[in-house]
Symmetry: C2
Subunit: 477 residues, 2 copies
């Protein structure tokens, strides 16, 4: 809330370096940087630093390191797991990338863009699109989430099934290390075997190894044709079989492949006025498939119709609607994107962002559903998500008319029940969202032994004073 805890010499040096616009200490200015958007955490900070350049950022980090002041990197502040929120001690400074917003270049020969960390994902997408290119990463918070945060958390989203996670898109990187030195890996090379994969290591390290300042991102040609369909299916097994049928024909054409349970879809159709079901009757489950191609020819339409035709014939799909216009396409996507909002309107809910191998998805959903239903009779098990990546948002909505608080009192029991089934299938307790501070307690039992030990050794080697985003990823004991 105030800079009381900063040593005066550091205070003055930072103010001189960053100027009043780059050095916020007033509680009204710093408040929004100290709370995550889910309102799970309410921290405090000694100051918010907003460097405008890598050079200033490096100098600021070096100064803080000199005085042993903890630093919390923060991008668009859209973490799902409190990954960018300082603790309650008020000792840390938040280093915000919000002033580093330059798009430095777009390269048509290499299909890359070089951007500063504070550029929002949406702004980067738009800049690429305007040049007839596409940044193939899309997440629901893209209007606020920035490139630094996207990379620090290795964001996923709808297009991972085709283009990989954020890590796969980062061809080059620049970061300020915990001691204030600048790690310049801003190369545009598709092949470069000259030592350790530091770029890949920094991506997904959630700000605990350094602060990402600039990145070279791989682009794609902008799609010229897209085909989008919403399909009614019997269950997740049928949805997966449909995915496999498309993949067998052309894995590269699949831009997105999403799953929605009938329960979750019914909430959307009932509670979101603009989202009626565009099929003749409700189904037990649904698949949303989007194909894309940089070509303008009819081959994509043919592919969609061939595979869906065959699937209807075989009974794999019981009904389907194809988008015949961009408006229809957006309507189908709106249905998918309103699942979180519909669940919110249905009452209290418990969220599980999990992944399992593709083959295990049907059994996982069946077993986890049973487990949750037996724990809380009347619970509405409403999974949906990126089934093509094995990533299911296994969300649980309170029984109709039940007391929200009573339901939420069972959140740990429910999460643990789901987690044990995920574990049985060799899955992950955090597919997209990262560990942050919300899930550090899960690390020892899920990633313990040699894995967590190796991570700790790397952390200690690069940040021996534990100044960079302390309390994230690693449990305190």
């Amino acid at each position: 809330m105030s800079d009381a805890s900063l040593p005066p010499a550091l205070h003055d040096a930072l103010l001189t370096l960053l100027g009043p616009a780059g050095f916020l200490t007033d509680a009204t200015d710093t408040a929004s940087f100290c709370t995550d958007w889910r309102l799970l955490y309410h921290g405090r900070c000694a100051a918010v630093l907003r460097p405008a350049t890598t050079e200033d950022c490096a100098k600021a980090v070096a100064l803080c390191a000199q005085y042993d002041v903890p630093m919390v990197p923060q991008g668009g502040n859209t973490s799902m797991v409190g990954g960018a929120t300082p603790d309650e001690s008020g000792k840390a400074v938040v280093i915000s990338t919000t002033r580093m917003t330059r798009i430095l270049s777009i390269d048509h020969a290499d299909l890359t863009m070089t951007v500063e960390a504070g550029v929002t994902l949406k702004a980067a997408q738009d800049a690429a699109w305007a040049e007839d290119l596409m940044l193939p990463l899309s997440i629901s918070s893209e209007g606020s989430a920035d490139i630094g945060g996207i990379l620090a958390t290795n964001a996923g989203g709808n297009n991972t099934v085709r283009y990989g996670n954020a890590r796969e898109l980062a061809l080059g990187l620049e970061a300020v290390l915990p001691d204030g030195s600048v790690l310049n890996l801003l190369r545009k090379l598709r092949k470069d075997n000259t030592g350790y994969a530091l770029r890949q290591l920094l991506v997904g390290s959630e700000g605990t190894l350094g602060l990402i300042t600039t990145a070279v991102l791989q682009l794609q040609p902008r799609p010229r044709s897209r085909e989008t369909a919403l399909c009614a299916v019997a269950d997740a097994k049928s949805a997966l079989a449909l995915f496999a049928a498309f993949r067998k024909q052309d894995p590269a054409a699949i831009q997105a492949f999403e799953y929605m349970s009938g329960t979750s879809m019914a909430l959307v159709n009932t509670l979101i006025e603009s989202c009626p079901l565009p099929l003749s009757e409700p189904a037990p489950a649904y698949a949303l498939v989007e194909l894309g191609s940089p070509r303008e020819d009819e081959s994509l339409r043919t592919l969609m119709e061939d595979v869906l035709g065959q699937a209807l014939e075989e009974g794999l799909v019981t009904d389907a609607v194809l988008a015949e216009s961009e408006t229809q396409r957006q309507n189908i996507w709106m249905i998918r994107e309103e699942h979180a909002e519909a669940q919110k309107r249905a009452g209290a809910s418990v969220k599980n962002d999990v992944s399992v191998p593709l083959a295990a998805i049907p059994d996982f959903i069946e077993e986890a559903t049973k487990a949750c239903e037996s724990l809380v009779p009347g619970i509405r098990v409403a999974p949906f998500g990126h089934i093509g990546d094995g990533n299911i948002h296994f969300n649980l909505v309170q029984p109709e008319g039940a007391d929200p608080a009573a339901f939420l009192a069972q959140d740990h029991a429910l999460m643990d029940a789901v987690a044990e089934i995920v574990r049985k299938f060799g899955g992950s307790f955090s597919a997209e969202h990262g560990v942050g501070q919300l899930k550090t307690y899960m690390m020892p039992s899920w990633r313990g032994g040699a894995e967590l030990e190796t991570m700790r050794k790397i952390k200690n080697a690069l940040d021996p004073k534990n100044l960079m985003n302390p309390g994230k990823i690693f449990p305190s004991h």
Copy 2:
């Protein structure tokens, strides 16, 4: 050569653990493990350990660590840079993966295969192909190179342009760490944000952080149609423009895009009997393009003909031949693959495995050619390689009739001249081959400062006694 330097207790423990087939000490048995295939290095070792399981490998590593015995992991022994050859002290043991050759599973739902480190790349390719799938990685040493080595060096090759390097294919990994603990990252998850990217870090670390024992590799549907063309072009700029034309239509269809200089092609046509030029007259340069699709329809042929037709019309391509059969396809590829052999027959040569951003390739080739020609009049500058990745094998062949030794006496001057131009364009001194022991001396000037320092910190943290593949990647000072 002998196990003289192993403490007797360690000798006995290793023999008991691994048995006579897994513990070689006789000089005739160990000789082939102590020399690289290029015959650049002639090392010695105290023994060759050939564990048959991860468990035995872990126990052997723990024993060696206990006695401070250095360990050199070795796969198919096909390193281009001496990366798997022990030094001359004779103190190290070689740990060979040649007995870990099980293909553990092929998963059609997840499109993965799980294989032990000693499986050759060819055997893994064949196993996938037999199940109607494809392991999309191909390098010239694939008959000997094994999966452990492929991953330890982050191998590239012909299909990187479409599917990425080995690192991008490794979905899961198991490795024995320098202290003998087992790092089990054998997950089959496309999304898993639970801590640091240890898998990506291990890949490409050239055995200096641990010994890879098992991997989960991503597969693709087997291609049902392929179109292959050899095109005559004016220069690298035209080849790149042709690449961009294909990429704009369908980047995912491009399975390979290779460049061959006229000089290098002439050597092939002249010196390799089975490889005449399949075009009516020689050209200044050539592009080899291969398109692939899992579909059987005609769309790929149409794409090839459309793009080439347009390119011929615009003068971008001056002549082209399309493979009309699998035999013709193989003949075109043989021409590409015989470049190294033809250069060998033409006399002494100097090899540079470099990469630059795509946009810089034409200027790089032009400037580096001039520099080499001015250093050695009559030199035959014969570049070829994976132009779609920005990766050029900028090879230099001695003047006709010149003394090979006199030419090779200038190898450092030539390599330095090429390297300086690569550096100017933000390139890499080792695109595919890694650092090994051949190129450690280049690390400080190319990757020095915070980058090399960070690598050293990680190495010291995970291998404080420097027992795992010492002398590789890092210069001794």
